[in-house]
């Protein structure tokens, strides 16, 4: 009986967490979706789809009031909206990552690169990074998602997710190295 009580308590807490998350962010999600698709009904559908994705990764959210939770919600809804818009417009969106292999200019964050001067440059360099790379980096570094989870919430393949992570990291490090030399 104690075990049953404990499991129910867990579930109630989880239910409360999901409900709170929804109530906190549903309006924000609607705004983000609307800013992409400019259609109220479609934005509602996107929020709904996004929320189902969020439920799947709810275990990764410790504090629903945290910036991390808010960022996750924003990234998921924005990407769902972009995917939906692309699908509806039947646009042939050839992603550079999907049609080309990575160049051999692989850059690793080593001690030479990672010094305080370079770390200070990150905010500026992040602004120059295309959003699709920012999103995967954020989910990886902040939410500590696995590639499988990132692929699922962003609606992309695991291979594409891996490439975006690698390319995003490369672009960032490369631009920081260049900045350091200048």
């Amino acid at each position: 009986m104690l075990m049953m009580f404990m499991t129910m308590l867990d579930s109630d807490e989880e239910k409360q967490k999901i409900t709170t998350l929804y109530e906190l962010y549903c309006n924000l999600m609607l705004k983000v979706a609307f800013s992409v698709v400019r259609d109220y009904d479609l934005s509602n559908d996107i929020v709904q789809d996004s929320f189902y994705k969020i439920i799947k990764v709810i275990d990764n959210i410790d504090d629903v009031y945290s910036k991390r939770a808010r960022n996750l919600v924003v990234i998921i809804v924005k990407n769902t909206a972009i995917n939906e818009l692309g699908r509806r417009n039947r646009a042939i969106m050839l992603d550079f990552d999907e049609v080309s292999d990575l160049k051999d200019d692989h850059v690793e964050p080593d001690d030479e690169v990672i010094n305080s001067f370079v770390l200070d440059q990150i905010p500026k360099k992040i602004k120059q990074l295309p959003p699709k790379y920012r999103d995967v980096l954020q989910l990886k570094f902040d939410c500590e998602f696995s590639n499988v989870q990132i692929a699922e919430v962003l609606g992309i393949s695991q291979e594409l997710c891996r490439k975006r992570l690698q390319r995003g990291r490369q672009l960032l490090l490369k631009s920081m190295k260049e900045g350091e030399l200048m």
Binding site: K15, N27, F34, V47, N71, I122, Q138
Partner: protein, 245 residues
């Protein structure tokens, strides 16, 4: 464990998201959209909340299956030691109490088609039902009909809502949220209805089958008599008009 590089990247992206959200707010404001515009549609809101309940219920059931196995083992051990000291009747009582404890909170409602009636597979314009009675002060604020669901929302000036839905029997999930609700079967002009009310407030629903459909009426704040009155008032206006002519 994240290193300094990853932490700094995450913080910088978070700041970037802050900026983007401010830009979105400004842009939407400049385009003339106010806060009221960005409220979820009732139907979507309802579906999401329903999904939250279902998702939670799935978790509970998964946990329970483990709990049931554990509890069964404990029960068998306890009974094994107790058999020499208890009667068959005592054993049956203990076992029944155990089963009731496990199942009494989470109800599963299964709707079945009447074998004597042709199965209804869709909703068309001739088969739409709506309540002909809603309490004073309530007005229709949303109405959606598609092949599988007819959904109408009424709201009064205090913001209390009545959600009415008509669905095809096969389209209705078997789980109905009865957690923390007092359940009662009531006789009405349409036969037996299931009435469920939250224990702590006037949040209630009725559900019943009629003419091959499942009807579900959910209210925020309405007495049982009023809710039943709404439920009993459902009419198919097309049929009604044809009969009157």
């Amino acid at each position: 464990m994240r290193n300094d590089f990853e932490k700094n990247v995450a913080n910088a992206i978070s700041d970037q998201i802050d900026e983007e959200l401010v830009q979105i707010e400004d842009e939407l404001k400049n385009l003339g959209y106010d806060e009221d515009f960005f409220k979820m549609k009732s139907k979507t809101d309802k579906q999401i909340r329903h999904h939250i309940n279902q998702a939670n219920k799935n978790t509970v059931h998964r946990h329970w299956s483990i709990a049931r196995i554990a509890a069964s083992i404990i029960l068998v051990i306890v009974i094994g030691f107790s058999v020499p000291y208890i009667t068959v009747e005592a054993f049956r009582t203990t076992f029944n109490e155990f089963i009731v404890n496990v199942f009494d909170t989470y109800s599963v409602v299964i709707f079945e088609n009447d074998d004597t009636q042709d199965e209804v597979t869709y909703i068309d314009e001739n088969s739409v039902y709506v309540p002909s009675y809603v309490p004073d002060g309530y007005v229709e604020v949303e109405n959606n009909v598609d092949e599988f669901v007819n959904f109408v929302v009424y709201e009064n000036e205090l913001g209390y809502k009545i959600h009415f839905s008509q669905q095809i029997i096969n389209e209705v999930g078997n789980f109905i949220d009865t957690e923390n609700r007092i359940i009662e079967n009531i006789d009405t002009i349409f036969g037996e209805m299931m009435y469920a009310q939250k224990t702590e407030r006037m949040d209630a629903f009725v559900t019943f089958t009629y003419d091959g459909y499942v009807f579900y009426i959910d209210v925020d704040n309405l007495s049982k008599d009023e809710l039943v009155k709404v439920a009993e008032s459902i009419t198919n206006e097309v049929v009604e008009n044809a009969q009157n002519e």
